[in-house]
């Protein structure tokens, strides 16, 4: 059973300035009985998400909308299990796959082939699984002999094709995306689109943050509108879109 359940979850970020992080300040504070803490500690707390409660169940594709800084990215990171909520409870059942940054872990000096192994291992694939998928990945990325060249020699298109091909071979229960992945020239784009639809349809829950009305309307059956870290509206994609985008 794949379920995501948020109960009054909040996320606070402590912001440490150089002073707040130093041990000297901390010791001084103890020595002076905490009196200089008022100006010295410099600890500011930013509340990124406040009191979120919702449940996503199998078959739901949820779009997240909201202005920059509304908390979409933070929420995606809580969903992928990176941040645990500072208050409230979050339970996530199912394997999570995150396509937030598909280039993460790619080493410019390493060859394409080496990068496939590193990136694959980061995504949780065993060596054997990568071995089995290797030809498929290389073919799909259309890199040819470049696969044994250092990635720094790649054009940006080749770089993205490589990252895309590796990152999309996972088949998680819960798929998390920040905007739709679209890479490459016209020819590749079509292949990428069909790979993406395949990935989306094999996932049980999909959460995608987007600024595109069309994307949310086409893809999602539910949408959440975040504003200042709070849920402004939670409902069907069409209702939320017409409220958020207007019209």
């Amino acid at each position: 059973m794949t379920v995501i359940d948020f109960k009054n979850a909040s996320v606070d970020f402590p912001i440490y300035n150089a002073g707040g992080r130093s041990l000297k300040k901390r010791l001084m504070q103890v020595a002076t009985g905490g009196q200089i803490s008022a100006d010295g500690q410099g600890r500011v707390i930013v509340r990124a998400l406040e009191d979120l409660s919702f449940e996503f169940s199998e078959g739901e594709c949820v779009g997240l909308v909201g202005h920059n800084g509304a908390g979409k990215s933070t929420l995606l990171r809580v969903l992928s299990g990176v941040y645990s909520p500072t208050e409230g409870e979050v339970s996530i059942r199912g394997a999570v796959g995150s396509l937030i940054d598909i280039s993460l872990g790619i080493d410019q000096e390493a060859t394409g082939r080496e990068n496939i192994y590193i990136r694959g291992a980061l995504l949780g694939l065993s060596r054997r699984k990568i071995d089995a998928a290797l030809d498929n990945i290389i073919d799909f990325a259309e890199l040819g002999d470049f696969i044994d060249m250092p990635v720094r020699t790649y054009s940006s298109g080749m770089h993205l094709r490589l990252a895309f091909s590796v990152s999309t071979i996972v088949r998680p229960d819960i798929l998390i995306m920040d905007e739709w992945l679209s890479v490459g020239d016209e020819g590749f784009k079509q292949k990428a689109e069909s790979r993406m639809s395949e990935l989306v349809s094999s996932s049980k829950i999909v959460v995608i943050a987007s600024h595109s009305k069309d994307l949310i309307l086409n893809m999602c059956n539910r949408a959440i509108w975040l504003e200042h870290g709070r849920i402004r509206m939670d409902g069907s994609a069409s209702d939320v879109c017409s409220a958020y985008f207007g019209g």
């Binding site: 992080r21 000096e109 080496e114 980061l122 949780g124």
Partner: protein, 264 residues
């Protein structure tokens, strides 16, 4: 109690991602030495030269016979380099992996294991010097060398909890690495690495050696290399450190594991 079971699961799942640890550790070593013909063997060469120089000067200074002093020095410096770089890099293991930590829910202990594995690879390059030194001086291994295996494992277990704790504390307090590196320098001189324990006067000797945990940790690996069996005290102290260190580390890590991504 709930958080400590979660912590154990986290540590156990880090071992399940062992292929990731392997891949990242190798990549770190490759990245450092890419496009250099000798690669990590550059370290071996410079360490060989250092051992030769220190051996020459201090051997004369202490008036020790080379056959005895040089293997002792070589084993000591190689092991110390390993220990001190694990400790130093332990301080930055999470900070330098923040890109990964903030994107993917990978058990944090993976980053500790990666750092230790990377340094093991470098140690395996450096350790080549030791048999070469023995060969040149006409020494040899005896059957006691087998004790290197449990000794080294015990050292690794100790370094793992230390690395994990340092990583967590240093992610929060960013000037701690400076304190740690000064402490390492002091320990280097307090520990018999470039001087032999038998040079100490009896009473000072027992004080400086018995209360120095690093001495015991080095000794469980070094003395089998030199053909001796580590003393009972060496085993006892190292095992005690491993067990008590892990107990503290598990509670400590359990307490702060979930906060750590917020500090990066």
């Amino acid at each position: 109690m709930q958080f400590s079971t979660g912590t154990l699961t986290d540590i156990a799942s880090a071992f399940k991602r062992i292929s990731l640890v392997g891949a990242l550790g190798w990549q770190d070593v490759r990245q450092r030495y890419r496009r250099s013909a000798l690669g990590p063997f550059w370290l071996t060469i410079s360490m060989g030269i250092m051992i030769g120089t220190i051996g020459l000067v201090f051997g004369k200074l202490f008036n020790s016979p080379m056959v005895e002093f040089l293997p002792f020095l070589a084993a000591g410096i190689i092991l110390w380099t390993f220990i001190s770089s694990v400790v130093t890099e332990g301080c930055s293991e999470f900070v330098s992996a923040q890109g990964i930590i903030k994107q993917l829910p990978i058990p944090l202990f993976v980053h500790t294991l990666r750092m230790i594995w990377r340094n093991c690879i470098i140690l395996f390059h450096n350790i080549i010097i030791f048999p070469v030194v023995l060969l040149v001086l006409g020494g040899s291994f005896n059957a006691n060398v087998i004790f290197v295996v449990p000794g080294f494992l015990l050292l690794l277990v100790n370094l793992a909890w230390l690395g994990l704790m340092l990583g967590v504390v240093c992610a929060r307090y960013r000037d701690l690495p400076q304190i740690v590196s000064s402490a390492l320098q002091v320990l280097f001189y307090l520990t018999p690495i470039i001087w032999m324990p038998k040079l100490l006067p009896e009473r000072a000797g027992s004080f400086i050696l018995d209360f120095n945990p690093v001495f015991h940790l080095i000794e469980v690996v070094r003395s089998p290399l030199l053909g001796q069996v580590p003393s009972f005290d060496n085993w006892l102290v190292s095992t005690f450190l491993a067990v008590s260190g892990w107990v503290v580390a598990i509670f400590f890590y359990g307490r702060y594991r979930k906060r750590l991504p917020y500090w990066l």
